[in-house]
Every structure is written in structure tokens, then in C-alpha cells.
Symmetry: C2
Subunit: 350 residues, 2 copies
């Protein structure tokens, strides 16, 4: 039996308490400063307010003041913060974790640099810790997994990534169940870029749903030709970005395209895409989604900015990413949705 | 204005009359011997019995007896038969078409050979014609396109493939509209295998829907984690088959994965997958679908047979295709649905 401490009581962090606890481990769920009410509810009811199912018996819940206590002797720390908690996690939580303790984070996203580079969070944290002379064992989770379906024990395939395959194998042993299946990869940037990129592209696919609602009526059947057309284009552009980043492998595509598939159905990203597709401005669409995190918007803007910088330097071509450029124009330039369908066609002549 | 003759009044052949006629061409729709009642209905109502929208004005409808007349001076012949009409099309229709007249077929499928090879229909027809001393200009359509959405003018991206890029460009000029967007590729086997393979794999994804209905109740929300897991595995196995066939390109993946996406929502293939997932035997599932064509079953069996033959020769490994092998076991060996989830995981260590 191991001790697994989960920091962040959002839906994904909390969902991971299920396989962890069901495997017999001691599980400690610690809320961030924003999770105070969630933890209170968990203590009172043994259920996360957003789940329809109780936690397995025997979980321990902690408010943020007890973080240090909750980290004591942990064999694994799971970071369950969203991309908006990245700095907090790096500044407050990581320094309290021992170098020997593996960390496994669910945070999805990419940062872009001044030079048009893209960085994944494990690398950002790693650099920050190294600057303090600390060498952490940082790992991350990617792949198609919605938290409420994990809670429901739906069959789920994810990928754990990290630099050390032996650590990864140990993490798999701790966390795998008969419904939670885990691939392993030392290609951290590959898995992390796959799961981040898919957010921006899922938004692009969801645009077509709103466009069709506008054109054919709100009650019209979903039009899958146009969804599939944008899905195919997303495949092409994600492949182009993988290639640019030097992480083009079938495993990364498997994780990325599977995750793209699930994200089109996944709540907020789908919703904002649909709203924009119906013709709402980005400001109006954001208002409708008041208060929820919109990682899809952030990642699309950052990746588009990186592509534009690389294009200016001549190392990429904007014309190879017409979908991403259009999504970015909608998000940052208030441009009307007008998908460049003909730009998605190709000509292959051998 | 060109003369475009469509042979086969199934849904896809008939749907192509829309862009063709809207572009101002003379369009002649000829029924196969099985389409007699459809053509009668079209003559009477100017509407295909399965569509909710009239044909554009000015179409010409022909019963099969008038095939020869309908082919007179045609600039393009579109073959609209299903894979079950492949022999008929090769024996009855192709010999009546001039060598200079381009042919564009919608038939999706692959044939497997005694040696474990896979052949696409354009190549099969080409060989048959060459044996008669005839050199035809055979082209084909692939990509995500459901006929009723094409009729509704949903934005649609397809790929035309054929050996001659100049012919393909001419066909694109004839057929493209502001909603029908056409990529071109001289990689015939690449496009044809992409759109054939996706049928078998879409069935695999649909299995999870039935499995979840059985486990969580018929009214349970769709479980996308498991769909996405199988989607990812389908990506991996299709990539493996593309590589084996020597047609692994991002364009073929774009077409194949986009088509896979749409097919999961596409009527019959989805339905039989769901029925099998719920626990029906293949015989019982087929009975429920009485009378409809099941290209997905045929292609899965054929490709699995080819893989098994290559595995016996040592040129492929069955273990690389656990999803296809399981689908084949269900279809041909009456095996119960029990997706090998853990076999879908991978380990990448650089």
C-alpha cells in the first residue's frame, strides 16, 4: 500500500482518487485555496459536489493549510490543478515535495516563448526547480479521459509521460485498474503537446456545430460531414505541429487524435465553439461561460502566436495551418466565423 | 457544360447529382437492375425516395435498359454502386464506357488475395479491363461524406484519387461547389484503403456504445472515454496497415481519420456495432439489419484474413492489430465482445 496525495480538488484530480483508493492505497485529497467549499462538502458527504457518486470509503480530505501534513511520506503526489494554477503549483506546492517523490500532473497546456517556441508544463516546472538547485521527478497524464466517466468506471485509456521509464512503470502499477489503462512514454513533449493542441482544434470542430445550427436551425440534426472535414484538417495540422516540434510518432497521434475525438463532446470547449459558430462574438461567448476555465482558448492563442512568429522567421508557414489561424482570428481579432474550406483541400501528385 | 452519367441510383450516386447538376451539367441518373423502383419514383416525383429534398430541375432518369443511351457522349461516368455491385459494374458497365471517358466511382472496399495481399476496386477493374485489352481512366472518391448531408449542402471535404493528376483536376472543376470541396491524390491505394479500413474500425468503436448500454442501461449517456480509447487504437492500427501497404502519408491519414470520425455516426455500421456490443450474436445482429448492405463486416473480415496470412508468413504481427483481430473474432468466430483494453496500451522509451 502506498500513500498518494492529490493536490487540487477539481474534477480530474478528484476523479483520480477513485482508481488510487480502489487499489488499496492511502489517498489524501488536498484542496487548493479555490477548493475550500469543495473540500468542506467532501468532508461532510464523502462526495465531490460535481460527481454523482460517493468517493470510495477511507479517503482523507485536507484544506490547503494542511498541505505539508498531507505531503508527509507520500509515495506519489498527483497535481490536479488546471493550467490557470500552474504558477501556484510551481511556487507553492512543488518546493514542498521531496526530490525522490514522483509527481504526476494532469495540467494540460503549452506556454509560448518570445522566440516562438512552445514549452510544456513539466519542462517549465523542471526549469524553475533546477534554478533552485532541485531535481524533481516530474511526470504527467495525457489522453482521452473525462473525469465523470472515469468516476463511472467507463473503460479509459490514458498515457503517463516522464523522463524515467522505471518511474512510469511504478506509477502504472500504482494507478492501473480493470477500467483505467495506462500507456507509458518518455516523450514528454510529444504527449503534452498532443493533449494541449487537441483543445484548440476541438474548438475548431465545434464551430461547425454552431454554424450548422445557424444555417439549418437549432433543432437540425448534427451535420457530421462538416465536423469530419474539420476533424481531418485538425489531424493534418496537429501532425504538422508534431513534426515542427520533433515529436511526430504514431503513439503521440494515437493519444492526440483520441483526445481530440473525446473533447469535441466535452463540455466547455464544445460549448464555446458552438456559441462562436452561431455567430456570438468572443466576448459574448465568454460571458455565457462566465467563471469556467477556458483552456482551449488559451492554448489556441498561444500556439497560433508561436506559429506566426515562426512564420515570420521562415521556419513555418501560416498557410499550413489555415484552421488554427482562423480560430485565432476569431479569438483575438473578433473575426466572423467563415471556415476556409477550400484551404483544407490538398493535392498529392506522385 | 459537360454530360455526366451516374450509374447506380443508391444514395451516394444520387447525391452526387446535386453538385453535378447545380454546376450546370447535363446529368443522367441510371438505375442498376436493383434500382428499378427508385428510378420510377424519381421520374414520378423528381426526388429520391430516401431524400427529403427534390433533385435540382432538369435531371434525366434512365432504367438499366437505357444504359447505352445514357452513356452516349458522356464526359464523365460516375459509378455509384456499393461494393456488392463491383462485379456487375466491371462486367456490364465498364465495357460500355470509352477508354477516353473518365470514370469516377464511389464504391468503398478492399479485396484480399490468396497470398494475403489487399486490392482496391479501381485496381481490380483496371486489371480486368487490361485483360480485355482496354485501358480505362479509372478514378475514385474517398473521404467523409454522408449522402444526405451532401444533399443538404452541408460543407463537405472529399478526395478524388486516380493515376492522372490532369484528369483529377478536370474532375474537380466539374464537380466542386461552394459546399463540396475536393482534394486530389494520385495515391489511389492510399485513399482507397483509408476509406475502406475506416469501416471496419468504426464498427469497433461502435461496439463500446453497445457495451456501455448493456453495463450502464440503455438510457445512459454516451460514454466517450471508451469510444475515444478505441478511436485512438483504430488510428494506431490504420497507421500500421497504411505502413504495411506502403501508403502511409498524412493526406491518407487526414482522409481516413476524418472518415472514421463520421462513420461512427453513420447509420448501419454504427448500428451493427452497437447491437454486437449489447451482446447480440452476429447472426442476430444481421437479422435486425435485414436487407441492408454491410460493407463494414465484409472489409473487417477481409483485412483480418490478410493480416492473419501475413502473420503466418512473418511479414506482419497479429499482436499489432488487437482491435481488428477481436472484431474479426466476433464476426467470424461468434466470440463474445470483450475488448482487449490493456492490449491497446503502449510503452515508448527513448
Amino acid at each position: 500500500m502506498a500513500i498518494i496525495t492529490i493536490v487540487g480538488a477539481g474534477m480530474m484530480g478528484s476523479a483520480l482518487a477513485f482508481p488510487a483508493r480502489e487499489n488499496g492505497h492511502e489517498v489524501r485529497l488536498v484542496g487548493t485555496p479555490l477548493d475550500r467549499e469543495i473540500i468542506e462538502a467532501c468532508i461532510r458527504t464523502n462526495r465531490h459536489p460535481k460527481f454523482t457518486k460517493d468517493f470510495p470509503a477511507g479517503l482523507h480530505f485536507f484544506q490547503i493549510e494542511s498541505l505539508c501534513e498531507a505531503l508527509q511520506n507520500a509515495d506519489l503526489v498527483i497535481g490536479g490543478v488546471s493550467s490557470f494554477g500552474v504558477d501556484w503549483f510551481g511556487e507553492v506546492v512543488l518546493p514542498q515535495i521531496g526530490e525522490q517523490t514522483p509527481v504526476l500532473t494532469v495540467t494540460k497546456g503549452l506556454l509560448d516563448t518570445e522566440e516562438g517556441g512552445l514549452l510544456c508544463y513539466p519542462d517549465v516546472w523542471d526549469a524553475k526547480m533546477k534554478a533552485q538547485g532541485r531535481h524533481m521527478n516530474l511526470n504527467a497524464i495525457g489522453g482521452p479521459c473525462t473525469s465523470y466517466e472515469l468516476v463511472a468506471h467507463d473503460q479509459t485509456e490514458v498515457a503517463f509521460c516522464g523522463r524515467d521509464i522505471h518511474t512510469l512503470r511504478k506509477l502504472k502499477e500504482l494507478m492501473q485498474t480493470d477500467y483505467y489503462h495506462i500507456s507509458l512514454s518518455t516523450d514528454v513533449m510529444g504527449i503534452e503537446s498532443a493533449v494541449a493542441l487537441k483543445n484548440g482544434y476541438a474548438l475548431g470542430i465545434a464551430l461547425t456545430i454552431g454554424v450548422n445550427q445557424k444555417q439549418f436551425g437549432m433543432e437540425s440534426e448534427l451535420h457530421f460531414n462538416s465536423q469530419a472535414a474539420v476533424f481531418g484538417q485538425a489531424v493534418k495540422e496537429m501532425h504538422g505541429l508534431f513534426s515542427h516540434l520533433g515529436v511526430c510518432s504514431i503513439e503521440n497521434m494515437t493519444v492526440g487524435f483520441g483526445d481530440l475525438y473525446v473533447t469535441v463532446y466535452g463540455g466547455r470547449t464544445r460549448l464555446i465553439g458552438v456559441l462562436l459558430g452561431r455567430g456570438l462574438s468572443i466576448e459574448a461567448a465568454k460571458k455565457e461561460l462566465n467563471g469556467v476555465t477556458l483552456e482551449s482558448l488559451v492554448v489556441a492563442e498561444r500556439v497560433a502566436r508561436a506559429v506566426r512568429k515562426c512564420a515570420a522567421k521562415g521556419t513555418m508557414k501560416e498557410a499550413d495551418f489555415p484552421l488554427l489561424m482562423h480560430v485565432d482570428d476569431i479569438l483575438t481579432k473578433n473575426k466572423a466565423v467563415q471556415l476556409p474550406w477550400e484551404d483544407f483541400t490538398f493535392e498529392v501528385s506522385k
